[in-house]
């Protein structure tokens, strides 16, 4: 029977939750790297025992950890993230120039073809790549050196590159997203980049439809349809059917279209999941009811999923990298909260239960489906 491994990064360490294909009983391992912030950990699609973790601390900076045995043991690898050349400036919150300064790795994306190749999205926004299992990191500086780079500004959480999507059918194509610069696409393996923000409207900007400056919170893609993208923006849930060339709003009947996470069902490319959050001023679910919303129509029409989720007095947040799906026949959906719960549904969202409920604030959730 298959095994499911949930990788949870939290404010105070990493946790690995495992279950068989029934997904009823869970074993919790951790905290790994206790006391450190674990922004993200993720496994290689070609070698599921190869895991990478971003471990950081305001005191001691950035560490990257690697496991070659599915998280049983770990070893630190390279932590030197040096911008290519003289990094120059981006805009600070008040619009003044501010030098690019490395702060932390938000997201690690292992290659779809080589377990030793992994991409890192960092704050201040840049994309790095390692081809030796994390020992050495090289910036793909065509992104940061884009003409618009000096105009990028941080979002409230910092100027982070938080989303990396690799096209499984085309090794040259990848997408990234930055808060608050927007989404970008490369068609040459990361050498050059193009802003893909047409159709986004951000009313907090002087020019609401500007080429860059949009506070994109997360972007999701179904691997079988890499030209179709779904985005949870600061406000608005968006969809693109042309690899980001244009976007349409699909917020439809959501109670609020603010939120952080968005994901796609493993086997139904038109089935989406979001967790609406009340507003950018109040980062918790509307009415104190934690509801996942599911669309089976690729957006526009959404249904609340509430069974097993707290429907009163719930004021947690669900952060941008804290939702994932498994690939079992009946798709499992998982998300973590700032209250330390990791919720799972073994039936595509119809029913939920907390598989662990008192972790530190959850920063990220990834899932591996193992044979």
């Amino acid at each position: 029977m298959s095994t499911v491994r949930v990788l949870a990064g939290t404010r105070k360490g990493a946790f690995i939750l495992t279950s068989d294909g029934k997904r009823k009983d869970w074993r919790v391992s951790g905290p790994h790297f206790a006391g450190w912030e674990i922004y993200h950990l993720k496994g290689s699609p070609v070698d599921p025992n190869r895991l990478y973790a971003s471990q950081c601390s305001g005191w001691f900076g950035q560490v990257i950890q690697r496991s070659d045995d599915g998280g049983a043991t770990w070893a630190p690898v390279g932590n030197k993230f040096t911008y290519d050349g003289v990094p120059g400036t981006h805009q600070w919150y008040d619009g003044t120039p501010h030098p690019w300064e490395f702060k932390r790795v938000w997201h690690l994306e292992p290659s779809v073809g080589d377990p030793d190749t992994v991409y890192a999205g960092v704050e201040d926004a840049a994309l790095f790549r390692s081809t030796d299992g994390g020992a050495n990191w090289e910036e793909l500086s065509g992104l940061r050196r884009h003409d618009t780079g000096p105009h990028w500004q941080p979002g409230a959480g910092g100027m982070c590159l938080h989303t990396i999507l690799l096209d499984p059918a085309n090794a040259q194509r990848m997408y990234i997203a930055i808060s608050a610069a927007g989404a970008f696409r490369s068609d040459d393996g990361g050498a050059s980049w193009k802003p893909i923000n047409k159709g986004l409207v951000s009313n907090f900007m002087p020019d609401p439809t500007a080429e860059v400056g949009h506070c994109v919170h997360h972007v999701a893609m179904h691997p079988a349809r890499p030209d179709v993208l779904f985005m949870q923006k600061h406000w608005d849930v968006m969809r693109s059917d042309d690899a980001g060339e244009s976007w349409q709003e699909v917020s439809g009947n959501l109670p609020t279209d603010f939120g952080f996470v968005i994901d796609v069902h493993a086997h139904e490319p038109e089935t989406l999941y979001v967790v609406p959050i009340k507003s950018d001023s109040e980062h918790y679910p509307p009415e104190g009811k934690l509801r996942v919303y599911r669309s089976r129509t690729g957006g526009h029409e959404w249904e609340p999923l509430t069974k097993g989720l707290p429907q009163s007095d719930c004021y947690v947040n669900v952060l941008r990298d804290a939702m994932a799906v498994d690939r079992l026949e009946e798709c499992g959906v998982y998300f973590g909260t700032t209250g330390g719960q990791v919720y799972a549904s073994a039936d595509a969202g119809d029913h939920w239960k907390p598989i662990v409920r008192d972790l530190p604030a959850v920063l990220s959730v990834e899932v591996q489906t193992l044979p």
Binding site: A34, G35, W36, S57, G58, W59, F60, G61, Q62, V63, P76, N79, K80, F81, T82
Partner: protein
């Protein structure tokens, strides 16, 4: 031998006890001690001082013989008691955050 006391999280990262003993060339300075420490424990590179600038990370402090050396030149000779191994160099994380 120079004695260095590391903060808890760096001990776990380097997999050492509370105190490590190092050989460092004379004159013994913060820089020569950190060079020796990072040579012996490469995993500590970037965690005490910045990879590129080699500046002390903002939330760490250096103490020796009950004096704060954090703002002294990294090339200033440390007290003789530290150079002789009678007193340790303490690397301390600021008491901040949660």
């Amino acid at each position: 031998m120079i004695r260095v006391i590391l903060p808890y999280h760096l001990r776990t990262l380097a997999q050492v006890g509370s105190e490590v003993a190092l050989e460092a060339p004379q004159p013994v300075t913060v820089r020569t001690v950190l060079d020796a420490l990072e040579t012996r424990y490469p995993v500590l590179r970037g965690t005490i001082r910045d990879h590129q600038t080699l500046e002390r990370r903002a939330f760490l402090r250096f103490f020796a013989c009950e004096e704060d050396w954090s703002h002294e030149s990294m090339d200033a000779p440390l007290p003789e008691a530290v150079a002789a191994g009678r007193e340790p160099l303490l690397i301390i994380g600021a008491i901040a955050g949660g």
